[in-house]
Amino acid sequence: MIISVASGKGGTGKTLVATSLAFSLKSRQPVQLLDCDVEEPNDHIFLKPVITQKEAVCIQVPKVDEEKCTHCGLCAEICAYNAIAVLPDRVMVFPELCHGCGACSYLCPEKAITEEGRETGVVEWGDADGIDFVQGRINVGEAMAPPAIRQVRERANADGVVIIDVPPGTSCPVVEAIKGSHFCLLVTEPTPFGFNDLVLAVETVRELNIPLAVVLNRAGGEYHKVEEYCLKENIPILLTIPLDTGIARIYSRGVTLAEGMPETQEMFILLWDEIRKILDEGTGSLKR
């Protein structure tokens, strides 16, 4: 069972929810946590895993054998990303533009193009005190997150509970992290920014046909548009976490809520039970 924790807006509490849920469930069943926020992975700060293995994230980029190349220009013509330029006397490859689709090497009439791995990041895994922990991290200066996310996702062991910490936003890295999950929790906060981005996140998750529910973080105050929207859209709010400077301080020290305030573990276990119930009943929030 794969549960993704996403948000649209950054900083609403995805990491808090993902790590606390994993922490609370680990004594009851096998739990795996995949940190797919490969641009800024933070779960390791809270769960302090002992990393035992790692593998490089590589994009297969073209390598041109100038001996064989006749400068026919086909590779440059078919490359959708302008990652190859063919000049009269040589070929220039721009590896940072290459998506690694493999079309150029396959289609080269002279078989002059081979592929070589270009390292763009790393996937690491290990044990975090009973949690099976996996994270990806792209190298500073790299633009492309999806290949690293795909490689983290490949390590998912769907026999147990898999919790995915999703990057913020609504574009390709988010889709890559969420797709194929059985359920998506959207963490938001009761502010105009939180609400605006929640609506976008709901549209994204519905596009992927994944049942969803909301966690309302930093609740309290006078702004109620999130609750009104959820009611109207028939989206369950499964957990409400109050605005509390004590919680913010625990978080600031790199301690997850379920560890720093053990009495909250019950709350996360209930959250999990609610998700199970929704999935068992097949009543998710797929209604449009």
């Binding site: 649209g8 807006k9 950054g10 900083g11 609403t12 990491t15 926020d37 490969v38 641009e39 800024e40 933070n42 700060i45 297969q60 078919i78 959708a80 990303y81 998506h99 690694g100 689709c101 493999g102 079309a103 396959y106 289609l107 792209i138 500073v140 200066g141 790299e142 633009a143 492309m144 997150a145 990057p167 913020p168 936003g169 609504t170 574009s171 390709c172 890295p173 988010v174 889709v175 797709k179 502010t191 105009p192 920014f193 605006n196 981005d197 976008l200 996140a201 994204t204 596009e207 992927l208 105050g221 006078e222 702004y223 400077t245 913010a248 301080r249 978080y251 600031s252 020290r253 790199g254």
Partner: protein
């Protein structure tokens, strides 16, 4: 003309709230929202759209079921696992066109993809260029580049002194697209271990692109010890900490009223810090 881009690494540290206030404080500038997949700046600036444009970018493969002989070659060769059961999953398709080139019966065509929209708007603080990436779309980096290009053209035409851009979270493709070639990056961080970790990575990206950086610690009093760590780290790195903004619910109150905090309560400690920050930035931008 000088271009300031506001980044953070970690989401939710207060980029947009600060940009909203800088918009109110700065004169003679063009505003740009480079967070194209979860944009929020418009919620503070209440833009009136003057011009709406389509953003066509990339392609998606489409298989003609009539012509397809179900040979399976496309599925076998696709590097993005976007083809299953002789249909293309448009969300997974990266538009490389490999399948279209190799289909033995020419059953696959590439269709242009409407990926989003971009806008030129008027706000009470001057013109704003902003965009909306379609749900679950790719190419956010290209859309960011387009927003910046439009902002630059407008700034040149109007002889504006500054461009102020609200950047996206993370360090990946939309961030590198927002940052490259900018005059100065303002990095908004918070004194949490996650905030510090992510700040270090985004400083690395600024260095990679040779863009000078300035740091602002938001909610500095949530954890004074971590705030000191950030200051020590920045000193080591030779980066100035230009503002220390206290935690204050007034920022959310202003947001609910759709106002930058410096307009909502210009004498609050938060507003005083942001005003000093802008003086510092304007001085730096005018000096070099």
């Amino acid at each position: 003309m000088k271009e300031l881009v506001v980044l953070s690494g970690k989401g939710g540290t207060g980029k947009t709230s600060i940009v909203g206030s800088l918009a109110a404080l700065a004169e003679d500038k063009i505003l740009a929202d480079c967070d194209v997949d979860a944009a929020d700046l418009h919620l503070l600036l209440e833009p009136v759209v003057r011009q709406k444009n389509e953003f066509w970018s990339g392609q998606v493969a489409v298989i003609d079921g009539e012509k397809c002989t179900q040979c399976g070659l496309c599925e076998e060769l696709c590097h993005f696992e976007a083809i299953k059961d002789f249909t293309v999953d448009p969300v997974s398709c990266e538009g490389c066109g490999f399948c279209c080139h190799i289909c033995p019966v020419e059953a696959i065509t590439m269709k242009e993809n409407l990926s989003g929209h971009w806008f030129i708007s008027d706000t009470r603080y001057g013109p704003l260029v902003h965009a909306r990436l379609g749900i679950a779309q790719e190419n956010s980096g290209k859309l960011v580049a387009l927003v910046r290009q439009q902002a630059r053209e407008m700034a040149e035409k109007q002889g504006a002194a500054f461009i102020i851009s609200d950047g996206p979270p993370g360090i990946g493709c939309p961030v590198t697209s927002s940052l490259s070639g900018a005059s100065l990056a303002l990095l908004v961080t918070e004194p949490t271990l996650s905030g510090i970790h992510d700040l270090e990575r985004v400083i690395g990206v600024c260095r990679h692109f040779g863009v000078p950086a300035l740091v602002c610690i938001n909610k500095h009093d949530i954890n004074e010890e971590n705030s000191r760590r950030i200051e020590d780290y920045c000193r080591e790195q030779g980066i100035e900490v230009a503002a220390r903004i206290p935690f204050d619910n007034i920022v959310t109150e202003a947001m609910v009223k759709s106002l930058p905090v410096v307009q909502y309560d210009s004498d609050s400690p938060v507003s005083r810090q942001i005003k000093r920050l802008w003086q510092n930035i304007a001085g730096r931008l005018s000096a070099n």
